[in-house]
């Protein structure tokens, strides 16, 4: 045993020396403490801590290529990591002896093209960094409801197709460049044909789509071109209270069907609303149980027309239009159109510092049932009702009444007993939701893939073969699926 440990240590030392030759001495290490800092994320109740064998921090795509080729030669697992904000265990090593590929030094915005309404970024570029630059052109990226410290590239590439601006659509990636384990560069869309990376569908099938939304990674995306969206000066916010989930669905449908609102979020009054309003200090319990937050925007003329229609729908919606402090509307605007910051107050709900969610895509028609099953399963496993929260974000342009749903539970992150309850909740809930009917999962949560794969038939076989072709030595972090 001791001999094996020594042998492993010697191998890692040799590997680090080779990595240092690629990226420079200070950018590769197998120091135990440095590696430990990458060993765990917020999802530790589900994905246990595991140290990478070493960490390497390349500065450019050529260094990435050299690292991947080295790893491929020695069949060493590689875990790509962008800005270090990850809440689902996706950058925690699966295997012993993994290389943690920290891409945070690659943080250049390669192009902002206001005429094309696109931005091309490296993996270390965050939403905050990008907005700082795009707003100069009155443009913004499509924001996920994640901290604005997260990577733009990774959110779009991995599975970040939800957003808080309902008019943005659900797919913000246009094209990208990916380095495969064998060192080859794969360019998708028009990027493969020309220096114009502005069109998703270039030659042959939609390869950009084929690589997105895996439970892990197929290669390392070193640059990605994404859509940007207009920032309008005309804005107006409304907050409408409801006592249940079903009643507001009619208003949501009308707003989405007529394409009237930039941002629509239905949240309960004890969780995300605090972040949307930017304060814990408000008697939220006096508000109706669910609040629909609506943001209208547009150019002159169009804006006024939309606003008139929104107000007309609000009159007949069966909810209570809430008169709230003006700063709440301002914070909602910032969070929706400028990136989530105060929204992260949810991490402090009950002062406990953690939250659990199952995020999924499904039709608005099932909203009330998703909530019902959420509450029921939580109670079954002993999670108190006051920990159960809910969130709906409808997604443009509403074909299939597409919505992002979040079944949230806020809890004390330091309580292992609660962690056990949540694992029990997940095990039951994944099956129940699959039985009820969903479009897809938002993230490849731990334990979610197994019950899902059982139901997807031959697709699973094709999917596995596809990955084998790209990564025959299985060095990339394939997540929990294969």
């Amino acid at each position: 045993m001791l001999r094996e440990v020594i042998k492993m240590d010697e191998m890692v030392s040799r590997l680090v020396k080779e990595l240092q030759a690629i990226v420079g001495e200070e950018n590769a290490t197998d120091d135990r403490a440095i590696c430990t800092s990458y060993s765990r994320d917020q999802h530790w109740h589900f994905v246990p801590a595991k140290n990478p064998a070493c960490v390497v921090r390349p500065a450019n795509k050529e260094e990435v290529r050299a690292v991947l080729m080295l790893a491929n030669t020695h069949k060493i697992p590689v875990i790509p990591y962008s800005t270090g904000i990850n809440v689902r265990g996706l950058t925690i090593p699966v295997h012993d002896g993994s290389i943690l590929l920290d891409l945070s030094r690659m943080n250049r915005i390669l192009e902002i093209n206001p005429e094309m309404k696109t931005a091309t970024v490296e993996p270390g570029v965050t939403f905050g960094m990008l907005l700082e630059q795009t707003r100069k052109y009155k443009l913004r990226p499509a924001f996920p409801d994640a901290p604005l410290t997260v990577s733009v590239l990774v959110n779009y590439y991995l599975r970040g197709i939800y957003q808080t601006a309902a008019t943005d659509g659900h797919d913000h990636t246009i094209s990208y460049e990916m380095i495969l384990p064998n060192g080859e560069t794969l360019k998708t869309g028009s990027r493969a044909l020309s220096r114009m990376p502005y069109f998703r569908y270039g030659v042959g099938p939609d390869f950009a789509g084929m690589f997105c939304a895996h439970p892990g990674t197929c290669g390392v995306v070193t640059e990605l071109t994404a859509k940007l969206y207009r920032l309008y000066d005309n804005r107006k916010e409304y907050f409408i209270g409801f006592d249940d989930v079903a009643t507001p669905t009619k208003l949501i449908y009308n707003l989405m069907n007529d394409e009237l609102a930039a941002s629509i979020r239905l949240v309960d009054n004890q969780s995300w609303l605090k972040g949307i309003f930017g304060t814990f200090d408000y008697p939220y319990e006096e508000l109706p149980k669910f609040v629909l937050c609506v943001l209208v925007e547009g150019v002159d003329g169009v804006f006024e027309a939309k606003d008139t229609l929104v107000r007309a729908y609000m009159k007949e919606c069966g909810g209570e239009v809430l008169d709230l402090p003006a700063e709440f509307a301002t914070t909602f605007e910032h969070e929706s159109l400028g990136g989530a910051e105060k929204s992260c107050m949810v991490f402090g709900i009950k002062g406990r510092g953690n939250y659990h969610c199952i995020g999924l895509y499904g039709p608005l028609t099932l909203a009330a049932k998703y909530y019902e099953v959420h509450e029921k399963t939580a109670l079954e496993v002993g999670i108190p009702k006051d920990h159960v929260h809910f969130y709906i974000d409808p997604i443009y342009s509403f074909h299939g009444q597409l919505c992002y749903f979040e079944l949230d539970i806020f809890y004390d992150g330091s309580d292992p007993g609660f962690g056990a309850k949540l694992r029990n909740y997940n095990e039951r809930q994944f099956h129940k939701l699959l039985d009820l009917g969903i479009y897809g999962w938002f993230r490849p949560y731990a334990g979610i893939i197994e019950p899902t794969v059982e139901r997807i038939g031959y697709l699973a076989e094709v999917w596995k073969k596809f990955l084998r072709v790209l990564d025959p030595n299985e060095i990339m972090n394939r997540g929990k699926l294969f």
């Binding site: 990458y38 270090g84 904000i85 945070s104 907005l131 604005l148 400028g338 990136g339």
Partner: protein
Amino acid sequence: MELEREEVLSAIHHCVKCKLCSITSFHPREEWLPLCPSGQFYGYQAFYAPGKMEIFRAILEGEITEPSEGLLNAVYACTVCGACYEKCKQITSVELGAPDLFEAMRHELASKGWILDVHKNIAEKIKETRNAYGEKYEYKAKSSDENADVLYYIGCTARYRVPEIADAMLEIFDKIGIKYQVMDEEWCCGSVLIRTGQVEAAKELVAHNVEEIKRSGAKTIVFTCPGCLKTFEKNYPDMGVELVHSTQFLLRQGNMNLKKEDLKAAYHDPCHLGRDLGIYEEPRAVLSEVADIKVMKREKEQAWCCGSGGGVKSAFDDFALWSATERLKEAKEAGAEALVSACPFCKRNLKEAAEKEEIEVYDVVELVNRCLER
């Protein structure tokens, strides 16, 4: 470690690793401004607060059993400036401060003997000379009245590295007619030992200074060094004596007939004075009497640290000077001709970095002294 193990682990588990602690408030300005000097300079996750917390967890849970170079760098190349905690508190209202955790981590490491040689040397120097710089000469200062109610605690840095601050403070006392004492046997307050985890070694210093102060009969102690003031506030027993920073003391003097200079000055919040003690307004009020204040983008709770605290200046000087240079650039961008702090340790590091930047560096008391007509 004064914090209980379970208390520490609980706090660590509450960090969701959103890393919003690494930037200033983004809204409404919508500018990406880094807040964590250590993380920004070194880059590895280990140098940001969430990474450091993981390391601390691994130590407490027995996963890390030896001191590696990376461990010592990650733990000690941090100025413990507290900016991460202030930002986190604004967002999540967490209940335990990161600086307390990081000091507890250092204490834990020091108790295992996992400490940098340079910090050990400081402890040895203090033992030998009773000052953090190991200087054997005496700083020339005498009490104007040995029974005065006011005692000026000078501190090691103002005595031995930036004496112009101590000189200025003493001249101000004379000019405005305040009788004062200085300690014949002023020992290091112990701040540097406590901040680097060597808590036990500070006990003798605390005991000595407490005894001397009690003997002095002083009712008010004035500090130009926020590090000393913080240590007296948080680590000394209550002596029944008022503890004030120089800027607080000056402000309460009322109209001092200061002759305002034609100087555009940015105010740099010292971490110990601002984030640790909540003293933000008094230095600004005093400075506004002697110069035109130019406001930097990162200030008060979200001020960028000068880079010298927490034992960083002595152990990681390149990092300390880089942090200071970042701050000087920010001051210049704000249109300032001078960067003014209220801390000898800040001044020393900023001044050293300013050798390559075209900007002056002062302590507030220096400007006040210059503008104070006799």
